[in-house]
């Protein structure tokens, strides 16, 4: 069949088109990516993971954690707003300016706000409105910024401050993005987990820290041994129902410690060019554990 070679070539090129478009070109674009600088601070990002965390990544891979946990935060859009950061010398003028840009606040509220700066004044406006409002405030001598906040259900759940981008995975081998959320997303677990001890307890007995969890136990990453003269400083502190019998303690093996180091290193929150973000500043009077001004209430350390 003289058409045979022609058809073979056509099919070859059709199949090869996907190889070209999804292997070659992405490799040319992304495969030679190097570290970039954060915006506006100019820090190098990403930093390679420290040795223990890199070993922990191997433990993560070997135990198939990516079968239940994803590591990519999604974003639906942005919310532009305006926040007043520092007052100028004339507070009355500032209150007038605030009322001009956000009349719905009311005089009393505005007066209280200028005492508790920094505070977001506007949210969910267009870029033009936010810029205009910022200049109105700036005229009075106060300092105001246009805030750009990523929004989406993942972000509202506290799983991250912005979407994940290619730079977040630059040094990972293999890149384990995960395809299931049987468990929560882990892209920023290092930013929101309470402590290494909490993570270790979660690995040993998930239901001791998160009742109702369907995560399996990973006791083989731990060692149950007899207490020597005194308890080891590394021994897990577990609730009554999960403690080993009298005279024994649970100590994490090196794999568990490495895995936890890896998890604590997962912090995809750097500000990058690809994901413009200028979050509303933390209120000055809040404690260090308070969540950011507009994030959801699921930021508590005990419930990632």
């Amino acid at each position: 069949m003289s058409r045979g070679p022609f058809i073979f070539l056509a099919a070859f090129f059709a199949l090869a088109s996907s190889w070209f478009g999804l292997v070659l070109v992405p490799q040319a674009q992304l495969g030679r990516q190097v570290e970039s600088k954060t915006v506006p601070a100019g820090d190098i990002y990403p930093q390679a993971r420290p040795g223990l965390a890199a070993q922990g990544r191997e433990v993560y891979r070997a135990n198939g954690c990516a079968s239940c946990h994803s590591q990519q935060v999604r974003q639906d859009g942005i919310s532009i707003g305006m926040a007043v950061v520092k007052p100028g010398t004339n507070l009355t003028e500032l209150v007038e300016a605030i009322l001009k840009v956000a009349p719905e606040l009311g005089r009393n509220r505005a007066a209280r706000l200028v005492q508790e700066l920094p505070k977001p004044i506007l949210t969910g406006v267009t870029r033009m409105e936010a810029d205009k409002a910022r200049r109105e405030i700036a005229v009075t001598g106060a300092k105001a910024v246009v805030t750009v906040e990523p929004v989406g259900p993942d972000i509202a759940r506290g799983w991250g401050k912005r979407r994940s981008v290619a730079a977040d995975f630059l040094f990972d081998r293999p890149v384990m993005l995960g395809s299931q959320r049987v468990g929560p997303d882990l892209a920023s677990i290092g930013s929101r987990a309470a402590s290494e001890e909490w993570l270790l307890g979660h690995l040993y007995a998930p239901r001791s820290v998160t009742p109702g969890s369907t995560m399996p136990t990973y006791r083989y990453l731990f060692e149950k041994r007899r207490i020597q003269r005194e308890p080891s400083p590394e021994a897990l502190r577990l609730p009554e129902a999960f403690k080993p019998e009298q005279g024994f303690e649970i100590v994490p093996k090196p794999e568990a410690k490495a895995l936890v180091a890896y998890l604590m290193s997962l912090k995809a929150t750097a500000q990058l060019f690809e994901t413009p973000m200028l979050l509303p500043p933390e209120p000055a009077s809040a404690s260090t554990n308070a969540p950011a001004a507009t994030s959801g209430g699921t930021n508590s350390p005990t419930r990632p």
Partner: protein
């Protein structure tokens, strides 16, 4: 299908020199080697799947053993199902179809048998490695380097045999199934070697790995399984209904559609990649509706009026069930690509439900129908019809119970995940009941695969006994005395 009368020939010979009986005889050992291997791995896969499925809602089940932890058992289940079960059966059927359609005896059967053994060895090595913690870390590509080399080698040997058979064909005109099978035969080594080279052997940097992994998964499942599975459908449905395939042109649309659009699909919309990559993939995923429509039209046109025959014929009903599963899983895949809906369904149980339906519901079922047609003809021993019927009903019910609740659970999960006010624990608990029903379905599928293993094993056993008996008879025949010969 009518019972033959005493004098009717067992085969209808309307083609060139080689009789179908000879063709079948030439395919016997390779096909049986591949089917037997596939049956064993299918059974192993369903054991792993059941274990994993129980762990969805009962995390304490077999929890403290490293070898059986969920993160290792689940990928092991998928890999044995796909590589050990589906691809082997597909290759066995492909060899037979290429031999039959070309009218040429299977060339180099030794290569095919060696390939089958090496493939099985590769799957075994890969699964053991995965359970021991040596997973490579990518979905569908967890097998380490040494196992994938074995798989590649085994596939190449089988592929050489298939290509040589096609090269020596006596009937020059290609039937659509042949285009599909040849394209698939060429495509797998390319995607497999590329993926292994760029992900496992010399990993590329950063998220380029993720793109290649998704590309590989889509090409393996949508393109390879789709091409080979539809080749089987387009061969057996017209043949066993004694009709011609409705339209060659619609088959062309299916072919080019799968090759062009299927190979570009698979990148999720919100992946951490520059916007152009997921966008192109979404467009391809939506455009894949067109070849799906062409396939459905072709099937309907071929089957029109003979629906009852399709569903009562013992082996054709598997093919029909598989085709229905194909359409549903393709629609599920379309939903996963659709711009508005994909964000809802990503990361939920909907995705593994679609994979399970595609691999098991579609591919394994059509290949099973083919195997039940081929095995009696290459061995001369029938498979018991009641066993086939039981297999069919158990498998059909198992697929329904396993996939549908999982998909429904995925939709519920997606809806709840998209509302940040719903705590994560509630999302988990909302799906638990559906996961339990899905486990029931997986238990039924274990039973179905056991029946399949029993059926194939039974034929092999009888074949073995028959051959043993023949050899024994020949060996112990009374020697021809010079007086009797005179």
């Amino acid at each position: 299908m009518k019972a033959p009368s005493a004098n009717a020939p067992l085969y209808v010979t309307d083609r060139a020199s080689v009789s179908p009986a000879d063709l079948d005889a030439s395919c016997r050992l390779p096909a049986l080697a591949l089917f037997a291997g596939a049956a064993i791995w299918l059974f192993v896969a369903s054991v792993f799947t059941l274990i994993a499925s129980i762990k969805f809602h009962g995390p304490g089940f077999l929890a403290d053993h490293a070898w059986l932890t969920y993160g290792r058992v689940r990928p092991a289940a998928w890999n044995t199902l796909l590589y050990g079960g589906a691809m082997q059966m597909g290759l066995g059927v492909a060899l037979w179809i290429l031999s039959r359609l070309g009218g040429a005896k299977l060339s180099q059967p030794i290569l095919a048998i060696a390939g089958a053994k090496i493939w099985n060895l590769g799957v075994l090595a890969g699964v053991v490695a995965m359970l021991a913690g040596g997973s490579a870390g990518f979905d569908w590509l967890e097998m380490p380097r040494y196992a994938s080399v074995l798989l590649f080698l085994g596939y190449t040997l089988i592929g050489v045999s298939a290509l040589a058979t096609t090269h020596r064909r006596t009937l020059r005109e290609f039937y659509p199934s042949q285009w599909f099978l040849l394209a698939a035969l060429f495509w797998f080594p390319w995607v497999y070697s590329t993926a292994n080279l760029l992900l496992v052997a010399r990993p590329v940097r950063g998220v380029a790995q993720a793109v290649i992994a998704w590309w590989y998964a889509a090409n393996l499942q949508v393109v390879w399984l789709g091409l080979v599975g539809l080749a089987i459908v387009f061969y057996f449905v017209p043949k066993l209904l004694e009709r011609s395939l409705h339209s060659r042109y619609l088959a062309l649309v299916t072919f080019w559609g799968l090759v062009l659009f299927g190979s570009w699909s698979g990148i999720p919309d919100s992946a951490p990649l520059p916007a152009w990559i997921p966008t192109l993939s979404t467009v391809a995923g939506v455009l894949a509706l067109v070849p799906l429509l062409a396939t459905v039209l072709n099937y309907r046109g071929t089957v029109k009026g003979k629906c009852s025959v399709v569903w009562t014929d013992p082996s054709l009903r598997f093919v029909a069930l598989g085709f229905v599963a194909y359409v549903v899983s393709a629609l599920m895949g379309l939903a996963e690509a659709l711009p508005g809906v994909s964000g809802l369904l990503q990361f939920t149980w909907f995705v593994p439900a679609q994979h399970h339906l595609l691999i098991f519901g579609f591919f394994i079922m059509v290949a099973t129908g083919a195997a039940y047609h081929i095995t009696p003809r290459v061995t001369g021993l029938p498979v018991c019809a009641r066993c086939m019927a039981v297999h069919f009903w158990v498998a059909a019910l198992g697929i329904l119970l396993s996939v549908m609740p999982l998909a429904a659970g995925g939709i519920v999960q997606g809806l709840k995940l998209s509302q940040a006010s719903v705590p994560f624990m509630d999302v988990t608990h909302a799906t638990l009941m559906m996961l339990r029903v899905s486990t029931l379905g997986d238990a039924l599928l274990l039973f179905a695969n056991f029946i399949f293993l029993k059926n194939i094993g039974g034929v092999l056993l009888r074949l073995g006994r028959a051959q043993l008996a023949t050899s024994w008879a020949v060996a112990t025949a009374p020697a021809q005395t010079p007086e009797a010969a005179r």
